[in-house]
């Protein structure tokens, strides 16, 4: 059934079709009288980041909840790796969620568990061997540069540290899809930059498909304008796109009242002559 629904790109004979990591097809959702998403369609390929922009209450976070199967659409199809998840029951959704990492707005760390236990949560639930768990947890905490906080409790962490632990927790198990729900909201600019760098590293170095919900313009600037490379010594550097290179693995969609009013590259977004978008981008 999913083959009929999927808009996988068909390649010449002998090559396998490219199946998008995430695909929304005519998704409609309403709570009572209020329409939250109206005929929303988009795709996210492997290694691509889709920035979802929009004001408060425009349905940005709902997109993420739909991908996780936390809520079901009233109509339309949502495909993860070519598989329609709308008809899935709870058990199938639980299995599907294991290939998705989710970073919440405030981190959503489990208060009663230490940083180590939070990051190890998914592996512990799967009954993985203790040594393997420790190795993976330390690797992930190194990735977010928080190895020193391994024994701390969430209450002892700053807002930025909580988000970074949330990212480490989301990345355990090497998910192929990572969802960010306003991960930089309320953070100071350097910490917000660090979070964006982590998202760029995931996109460019780990080939992760991601959705980055935000309403902050700095996130747009970093994610659409910079890329990560690794030098011969293994150090990661961030470079800005320019005349030599234009990033094609990051796109923007903008929501308004549950509808997509823009979909494309950031350069196209800047040129759109729409009063709502102009006001959103420039604040006036």
């Amino acid at each position: 059934m999913s083959e009929e629904i999927s808009t996988a790109i068909k390649l010449p004979r002998g090559l396998r079709p490219i199946i998008p990591a995430i695909e929304f097809k005519n998704v409609y959702l309403a709570f009572d009288e209020q329409v939250v998403l109206d005929n929303v369609s988009f795709t996210v390929r492997q290694g691509e980041t889709k920035l979802v922009l929009g004001g408060s209450g425009t349905g940005k976070s709902t997109v993420i909840k739909l991908i996780l199967g936390l809520i079901k659409p009233d109509a339309g199809h949502i495909l993860i790796d070519g598989e329609d998840i709308v008809p899935h029951d709870d058990q199938e959704l639980m299995q599907m969620r294991r290939k998705i990492g989710m970073v919440f707005q405030e981190g959503a760390l489990f208060d009663s568990l230490s940083v180590y236990e939070n990051v190890a949560y998914r592996l512990t639930e799967d009954g993985i061997d203790d040594n393997e768990v420790e190795h993976e947890v330390r690797r992930m905490l190194r990735f977010v540069d928080l190895e020193d906080a391994v024994d701390k409790m969430p209450i002892e962490l700053s807002g930025g540290m909580r988000r970074r632990v949330g990212i480490a927790r989301a990345l355990v198990g090497n998910p192929s899809i990572v969802l960010f729900d306003e991960p930089t909201a309320g953070l100071d600019p350097p910490t917000a930059r660090t979070i964006c760098e982590l998202a760029i590293k995931l996109r460019d170095l780990e080939d992760v498909a991601s959705i980055f919900v935000t309403h902050e313009m700095n996130n747009l600037k970093y994610l659409c304008g910079e890329y990560a490379i690794v030098d011969r010594k293994g150090n990661v550097h961030f470079k800005e796109e320019g005349d030599d290179l234009c990033l094609i693995n990051t796109e923007v969609i903008m929501l308004r009242d549950g509808k997509i009013i823009f979909s494309g590259k950031d350069e196209q977004l800047q040129k759109v002559d729409d009063p709502y978008i102009t006001r959103f981008l420039r604040g006036k």
């Binding site: 909840k65 996780l68 936390l70 709870d90 058990q91 639980m94 299995q95 969620r97 294991r98 998705i100 989710m102 919440f104 707005q105 405030e106 959503a108 760390l109 489990f110 208060d111 949560y121 998914r122 639930e125 009954g127 927790r169």
Partner: protein
């Protein structure tokens, strides 16, 4: 939505929760560690207040009943009167109300805080069922510990009654114990244990439901905590009536 529809909708949600609990019981993981931890928190943590409540309930029963028994010349039946009142009714109900206040509120507040801080969503996003991980262990822990707590409360109540009868009214301890043993039947004890099992299920179910349906931030947590205690206490008292009637019919030889 009118109050009647709201009530129906809430009953539907509770029924759904029960179905998910039952379905979850058949699948692993079953979180035995969490269940043991909850039994410790609920059972061991509540034993002091339950015993204290039981002790003073036994005392007040003697205080109120003894003059009447004395009037009819039935002082020797003091033990029986305390035993019947305590084991059949007051023990299970008071213990359940104390646990609803202490544990029901804690469960609702904990789950409610997890909901508003997105921890429940995070748990689901990480592929864990909150019903199996959080709700089922708490309800099973309540079902297992509440009868034990009730028995402990009953024992302290009987002890308190006997102590007051001797100290205040000079009743011989042997007379009290003999009357007590003559007054209790096996049906009394069975009824006194069956009731807390049902009450434990009710308290757990209502508190978990209220906690998981919390909305409106920290104010919502406070509201759901209050609702959990009030709703579970009222449900316990209503269920007590129907259970008493049911057990009365079941154990026809006794007067429940």
């Amino acid at each position: 939505m009118g109050p009647f529809l709201k009530l129906l909708s809430e009953l539907q949600e509770i029924a759904n929760l029960v179905v998910r609990i039952v379905r979850g019981l058949r699948k692993s993981p079953r979180y035995f560690d969490e269940m043991i931890r909850q039994m410790d928190l609920i059972g061991v943590g509540s034993i002091a207040i339950v015993c204290l409540t039981g002790f003073f309930t036994g005392c007040v029963l003697i205080l109120q009943a003894f003059p009447t028994l004395e009037y009819y010349g039935q002082e020797a039946e003091a033990g029986r009167s305390v035993a019947i009142a305590l084991i059949r009714e007051l023990g299970p109900v008071l213990c359940a109300l104390m646990v609803a206040g202490r544990v029901g509120s804690a469960i609702s507040a904990e789950l409610g805080a997890m909901v508003v801080s997105q921890q429940i969503e995070a748990m689901r996003a990480l592929g864990t069922s909150p019903v199996r991980k959080l709700v089922t262990p708490r309800i099973i822990a309540l079902i297992l510990t509440l009868p034990l707590l009730t028995v402990a409360g009953d024992i302290f109540g009987l002890f308190g009654g006997g102590l007051l009868a001797r100290q205040l009214h000079g009743l011989d301890t042997n007379v009290y114990i003999t009357s007590l043993r003559m007054g209790i039947t096996i049906e009394d004890i069975l009824g006194g244990v069956i009731k807390p099992i049902v009450f434990g299920f009710i308290i757990g179910l209502v508190s978990c439901h209220k906690g998981l349906t919390t909305d409106g931030g920290t104010v919502g947590v406070g509201r759901s905590t209050t609702d959990a205690v009030v709703a579970s206490s009222v449900c316990v008292i209503i269920a007590d009536f129907f259970l008493s009637k049911l057990l009365q019919g079941f154990f026809t030889s006794t007067m429940f």
